[in-house]
């Protein structure tokens, strides 16, 4: 039996669109806490970037850190030829980028992966983010606005220091609701609480955040009584450690829900079949039990 992902290995995604470009930093905007937004001039990548896709960013031309880092496009301006990433300085790579100044260079390989599906006809969407998971939503909101989608953004974080700043949120979103677990800004509690009452009115839900938060959102939706036909389409952007970003290392394995009753668990690649996937493709039971040190 060939595994479900055998096809993926033969290139079902569009790697031909990706370019490896030397990009020049044009702006670094420090935000609260360890957060920042970094902008690069990278004409070809900017022209091709779609919401939910990512770039592999070379943070050092030396050997530490060895690997490039995956970051979702947070903004893309094809005219200006720029892309922006929204980051937290959480480790060696992101801290290195935090030290960038305009003029500094880095290679960007992208766009990579599968992004969010844009609807054929406008409807109602919820954008649900946890912490740094807000990253891809400004670009997604731009593209949804262009097709006339009605959007609500449930923007959650542990505390106000980790919350995506209101003033960076692009126009055209009918409502932005903030949640913090400690109540230090907006409503106290989890985004799931805000999502529950909206469920029946939504056509689509886009979710991005730590895998545990994605699991919580998907549980909520699954447990909410609804007509199967009515169920909004749910797309989650998931995370996995990435070696290459383009399907050769097999390092970014994620547990897929077996399409058949086959006994063996099925493995997919986050960088080719994801990072954005329909919730129904993933094996949430196994995702939930992933070791905590990945988050």
């Amino acid at each position: 039996m060939a595994p479900a992902n055998a096809k993926a290995l033969v290139g079902e995604s569009e790697l031909g669109r990706a370019v490896d470009e030397v990009a020049r930093c044009t702006a670094l905007v420090p935000l609260q806490g360890n957060l920042f937004e970094i902008t690069f001039r990278s004409a070809e990548v900017a022209r091709r970037a779609r919401p939910g896709e990512f770039a592999q960013v070379e943070v050092d031309s030396g050997q530490i850190p060895l690997l490039r880092r995956p970051f979702s496009f947070s903004r893309a301006d094809p005219e200006a030829g720029t892309v922006a990433f929204y980051l937290g300085a959480v480790g060696v790579g992101s801290r290195r980028l935090r030290g960038f100044a305009p003029g500094d260079q880095a290679r960007l390989l992208g766009p990579l992966g599968r992004g969010f599906t844009l609807p054929a006809r406008p409807g109602r969407s919820a954008l649900v983010s946890g912490g740094l998971g807000a990253a891809p939503f400004p670009l997604l909101a731009d593209r949804l606005r262009e097709i006339g989608e009605q959007m609500i953004w449930l923007n959650g974080a542990r505390n106000s220091a980790e919350l995506y700043p209101d003033d960076l949120i692009p126009p055209g979103i009918s409502e932005v609701v903030q949640f913090t677990e400690d109540g230090s800004r907006g409503r106290r509690g989890l985004v799931t609480a805000g999502l529950r009452p909206l469920l029946s009115d939504l056509d689509r839900i886009y979710v991005c955040g730590p895998n545990s938060m994605l699991a919580a959102v998907v549980s909520l939706i699954d447990e909410s009584p609804s007509d199967r036909a009515d169920r909004p389409r749910v797309e989650v952007s998931i995370e996995a450690p990435m070696g290459c970003g383009f399907g050769t290392c097999l390092g970014c394995a994620i547990p897929l829900r077996p399409p058949t009753a086959a006994r063996d668990p099925v493995i997919g690649l986050c960088c080719r079949q994801g990072p954005v996937m329909q919730d129904s493709m993933l094996d949430w039971a196994r995702l939930r039990t992933q070791p905590a040190h990945l988050e």
Binding site: P3, G11, Q63, I64, T248, P291
Partner: protein
């Protein structure tokens, strides 16, 4: 008539008619089955492609997390995820047959009969230019890898040699006391070339969770610049032990790295982990090596070899570390 200055010849003869146009290959497991990089940046510059490890049946591989970064290194525990030899023969090989670059299928197995079965399925398949035997696999019968004991290695290679006329490269594990001894056994068993080295057994620990980062037993294989000095020493040992071609592998990320392996005794090299960080790296290396050869007026890369190595079979006592 005076003959013209002999031109530079980059070719490498691996035996049984397999002649690479240049010594730069890409290592198994770091280039998939070639299709991703073909789509991204092209493959025409390569001397050879070594495919992801292929087994008789499809394998799901290990549970995540499967990779972790270390100082100038990468740990992996992929678990030989692959679609099985049948998919390789039916779907991949026909596409390889149209490529200008020979593809060698890296073969793995749980026991000798599995190696033989995979190899027999690959015999005569268009697009399959040769085999690379990964014998650092768990030997279910004996508990150790085939690659960690000369006798076991020889038995495995002999069985495969009988089963195929394809060019046969055998890949050495560095996790052994005496790699030279294993290499000699493999040469005697009929391999056309050896490649060295596979990854080094390593572990990364997560202090917050007080356990290894990688799933399962927590160990993985270390690759990347961190292992380059270890691999260079291993290649030198192997070079002194055998007469067949040696393909050097381990931490190669630049043309200078590749040329250093040629100095250390390799006839060809494979670029591994560096493919992940720069999908253009093998092209840059191939071009850089060629430019070096031209600048230095080489007629063949073999001129680079450290002269001390040209005493096959004469392994020196060697002064071990302090």
């Amino acid at each position: 008539m005076s003959s013209p200055e002999p031109a530079f010849d980059a070719r490498v003869d691996l035996g049984r008619g397999l002649v690479l146009t240049n010594p730069i290959g890409v290592a198994s497991g770091t280039f998939g089955f070639g299709f991703e990089v073909e789509a991204l940046t092209g493959i025409g510059h390569l001397g050879a492609i070594f495919s992801k490890g292929t087994t008789l049946h499809a394998r799901e591989g290990n549970q995540p997390p499967r990779i972790a970064e270390t100082a100038a290194g990468l740990l992996n525990s992929i678990g030989l995820q692959n679609p099985g030899v049948e998919v390789v023969v039916r779907e991949y090989a026909p596409r390889w047959a149209t490529w200008p670059v020979p593809v060698l299928v890296n073969v793995a197995g749980a026991d000798i009969s599995e190696y033989v079965a995979v190899v027999e399925r690959l015999n005569g398949v268009g697009g399959v230019a040769g085999l690379e035997l990964n014998i650092s696999c768990p030997n279910i019968a004996h508990g150790l890898d085939f690659a960690s004991e000369p006798g076991a290695a020889a038995r495995c290679v002999t069985a495969v040699r009988v089963a195929t006329d394809l060019p046969l490269v055998v890949k050495l594990s560095p996790n052994v006391t005496d790699i030279a001894e294993v290499a000699r056994a493999i040469e005697d068993a009929g391999a056309d070339a050896v490649s060295a080295v596979n990854t080094y057994v390593g572990m990364k620990v997560s202090l917050p969770s007080r356990r290894p980062v990688l799933a399962g037993h927590g160990t993985g294989g270390l690759s990347g610049p961190a292992i380059k000095p270890l691999a260079l020493a291993a290649v030198t040992k192997v070079r002194r032990a055998v007469r067949i071609p040696v393909i050097g592998i381990g931490g190669i990320a630049s043309a200078a790295d590749a040329l250093e392996f040629l100095v250390a005794g390799a006839d060809a090299i494979q670029v591994g982990t560096a493919n992940f960080t720069n999908p253009n790296v093998s092209r840059e290396i191939a071009e850089g090596c060629r430019a070096y050869a031209e600048q230095h007026g080489l007629r063949s890369f073999s001129e680079l070899r450290w002269p001390d190595l040209d005493h096959p079979g004469s392994a020196p006592a060697g002064s071990p570390p302090d």
